[in-house]
Symmetry: C2
Amino acid sequence: MIDNSDGKETKMETPAIPTLDAQLCFAIYSAAHAFTRSYKPLLDPYGLTYPQYLVMLALWEEDGRTVKALGGSLGLDSGTLSPLLKRLEASGYIARARDRDDERQLLVTLTPRGRDLGGEAAGIRAEIGRATGCAPGVLEELTAALRRLTDNLKAGEDTQADAA
Amino acid sequence: MIDNSDGKETKMETPAIPTLDAQLCFAIYSAAHAFTRSYKPLLDPYGLTYPQYLVMLALWEEDGRTVKALGGSLGLDSGTLSPLLKRLEASGYIARARDRDDERQLLVTLTPRGRDLGGEAAGIRAEIGRATGCAPGVLEELTAALRRLTDNLKAGEDTQADAA
DNA sequence: CAAAATTAAATTGTGTCCAATATAATTTTG
DNA sequence: CAAAATTATATTGGACACAATTTAATTTTG
């Protein structure tokens, strides 16, 4: 802490606390909420929430995955995924079945309806891309920068464990 | 939908669905979670959650605000803020009192302990800044880019209302 | 001025998230 | 091979987040 050399009091009144709007963490927090809100009217007709849509994206990328594998891709654990997957099953987009070779594992597979949704969702992706108001190149750069940031933060979590 | 002019089948099998990792919305979603997780061990000693910390930031910036005003800064409504503010009060960081001039409004003010926390939190900010692994200039640019993006998305929400 | 409209918070219900625990199946070890 | 350790998923409890409703106070209007 820098000394307030011309002040008389020992404790400083308000020691340069950054503005909410100046903080990257808040910019990301706000952007995440803005994305969720933008997706909502596009996903509502399909009865999907935004996190559910992310799970569908993961399954369109690779079908027939376990809860563990999905959780790895999405950064979520079974506490979040278990009930979410039940809702996706109730909506008719996925099927849940135990792996015959390892009954601990649950295999999540797309139903025909869930698979078809991937094509129908092209309109959603186009609409969102438009809503960002950014050129594709800018979006890619931002995405890459955020992934680097996320990786750094994740690495820091481990480091902290040592320090603590 | 665009016609698949050289294909024979009416429906395309898998029409170029982007990877999870290629999507900006998921990069932001992941970064937001990573920040929350990075903050957690730093905020736990104070009994604060990350959203509660954001409210404190807003109050350090301007004390004595109404729920409505806080919600405007944070992008949250009373449904989220009402219970959260009660928890902050229970933790001793803020006081909640009705505005004498307009009994509908609730004035949220920092307690001495809440005010002091702003200074103590300097260590948290330093630690997080370090954890991002980014130069200050990069952080500022990212913040600005995300704010533009968020503004665009918010503007799009209104546009959509017209179209729908 | 009184009824109607508006506004600010609080409440309720649904759906994430995460931590901690429980349950069940598999693998490792003695 | 049987007990112990590990692994995968499910469940429980606390805290957001948001839509919709409710309540109370204020403002607008007739």
